[in-house]
Amino acid sequence: MVIRDCMKRKVFSIPATATIRQAAALMTEQHIGLLPVVDRQGKPGGIVQLSDLLSLELPDFFNLLPDLDFVHDFGAAETACPSAEELDGPVTMRMGPVTFVEENCGLLRAYALMMKHNLYDLPVVSDDGVLVGLASRVDIGVAILATWATVGPSVT
């Protein structure tokens, strides 16, 4: 079994010319957490994740704090919103590097790559590098688990 057999074929992506506002709108509309950023040929050049956009609301300093148990109210930060200038900025400003695999990639290799790069979704490309699908950890993990059914019961 390869990743082509378990990936989602309906993939939402955005062009590199899109704004942060457009990316956020697409994520909200489709209820998704990752958007591949593609060029004119449909080849992925990066990804925008939910956390990349939300860092506008909750800046990265937050990762420097060892814990937050002592904070019981986020006060003004709770209602803070990015400025119009920030939202109309290019999505490439918030884009991260993309890790993708080809359609015939083995499931275990794909799963190992996701673990290694701490990814929850993995873009899949065709032989000529065009985005053709997306597989989540659950898609791949469940497909691997399904193969266990072929193992017969142990004989005692």
Binding site: P59, F61, N63, D67, F70, D73, G75, A77, A80
Partner: protein, 429 residues
């Protein structure tokens, strides 16, 4: 003569590489030390045993001991506790918050490493500002500036002071009687100036001032038992620093003994503690000592001393002021540690020629301590604060630092200069 030219070449090329940041400073230091010893062996002016003798183990021991104590205190949440406490007590009032955070940072920096203090207090400061809906810029800049200023107050507050103490024989109490009063006045002037420079930002009322009252300082303390034990040992060490003359103890012995007692009492994961020690700093210091030892052995420093002796027509208090501003000017752009390490043997040489260098040591301490405030690259605390601010909505730029930090440097150096002249007889003994 060839030895003098070549050693000077190695030293200044190393300094240039360090200051230009083309190579990591520790790598440059090690390379320079190796070249210096190699050249010394080749031209028979500097041996390996002379190089080892040039390393000031008193300074290294003091640094290591204090680093171990800080490394043990760091994960306890003590620094976080102090910042959260300041935030809560301020009640969300901006000027009060600036004064409280500034005071906490200064007090901690007087005894512990400035960079660690700033690294641990700055993220909580940003969090408090986010909760209040205000800009963290005034607070972050104030913390770095006041941490640098406070560090100049004591023997253990700043590495240049440790170097000066070791070279001059000044005790912890000498620093309390000579630098602390000047630093107190300079610190107050800096704080008032910061309140004035940031008056527009500080005048904005927080829309959610009541939210900081829900911060719980106790919950921010992750390991209260460990924090209590390390603080008890630290207080004991400070007490022994006061009494070092009575018991004939060196600061290095006190710091390393305190570290040993704290380790035995807390029994932490020793590997985790040692991983937090800044070994690169210690190696850099040792390498610089070896390089300066080479300069001394080849006679370069002797030549510089002879040159300085010719300008003895300048009144000694004015000479001190020139040294203060010269060191401050250099420290505004360059790391004050190599500057101090390079100037220490020059002052020692002058002393050997019968010059009373006591006031010059203090001028060096003030210049190295206050000069770093001038630019964003003037001290490691400034660089760290600026880099942390890049993870917020309002990054601190070099231009902004020049507008806020440079006046603070000029005012603190002016205060130090005036008090230096007024209290000159005190600094001569």
């Amino acid at each position: 003569m060839i030895a003098q030219i070549l050693t000077a070449l190695i030293f200044f090329a190393s300094l240039w590489l360090i200051f230009s940041e083309r190579l990591n400073r520790t790598i440059v230091g090690l390379l320079g030390a190796a070249l210096m010893v190699g050249l010394g062996k080749l031209l028979h002016f500097y041996t390996e045993s002379q190089a080892m003798a040039a390393v000031d183990f008193n300074t290294l021991g003091l640094l290591l001991g204090m680093m171990i104590l800080v490394a043990m205190l760091e994960p306890t949440g003590f620094f976080q506790f102090l910042a959260v406490w300041a935030g809560r007590v301020s009640g969300g009032r901006q000027v009060r918050l600036l004064v409280l955070l500034g005071t906490v940072t200064t007090l901690v920096s007087m005894f512990l490493d400035n960079v660690t203090t700033v690294v641990l207090i700055a993220p909580v400061t940003i969090l408090i500002c986010e909760i209040l809906g205000i800009t963290p810029v005034p607070y972050l800049i104030a913390e770095a500036l006041l941490s640098n200023t406070g560090g100049a107050a004591t023997l253990v507050g700043d590495p240049p002071n440790m170097l000066i103490a070791s070279a001059s024989g000044f005790t912890f109490n000498d620093f309390l009687t000579h630098t602390l009063p000047v630093v107190l006045v300079a610190w107050l002037a800096a704080l008032l100036l910061l309140c004035y420079l940031f008056r527009r930002e500080l005048a904005i009322r927080s829309p959610k001032a009541e939210a900081v009252m829900k911060l719980n300082p106790r919950e921010s303390l992750d390991e209260p038992k460990t924090a209590r034990r390390v603080l008890v040992v630290l207080c004991g060490a400070i007490l022994l620093f006061f009494l070092e003359e009575v018991f004939s103890l060196s600061p290095a012995f006190v710091a390393l003994s305190a570290a040993a007692v704290a380790l035995a009492w807390v029994q932490p994961d020793i590997n985790a503690v040692l991983r937090r020690i800044e070994w690169s700093v210690l190696v850099f210091f040792a390498a610089l000592f070896i390089m300066v030892g080479g300069l001394e052995a080849s006679g370069v420093l002797g030549g510089m001393v002879t040159l300085l002796e010719r300008i003895q027509t300048i009144p000694p208090n004015i000479f001190g002021l020139v040294l203060l501003w010269f060191t401050a000017g250099l420290s505004a752009f360059l790391d004050n540690v190599p500057i101090t390490i390079a100037l220490v043997p020059v002052l020692q040489g002058l002393e050997a020629h019968g010059v009373n260098v006591q006031p010059l040591w203090w001028a060096l301490a003030f210049g190295a301590g206050f000069g770093g405030n001038g630019t964003i690259i003037g001290s490691t605390a400034n660089i760290v604060v600026a880099s942390i601010s890049e993870r917020t909505r309002t990054p601190i730029t070099s231009k902004l630092w020049n507008k806020r930090g440079l006046p603070v440097m000029l005012v603190t150096c002016t205060v130090a200069s005036v008090l230096y002249l007024l209290l000159y007889p005190l600094f001569t003994r």
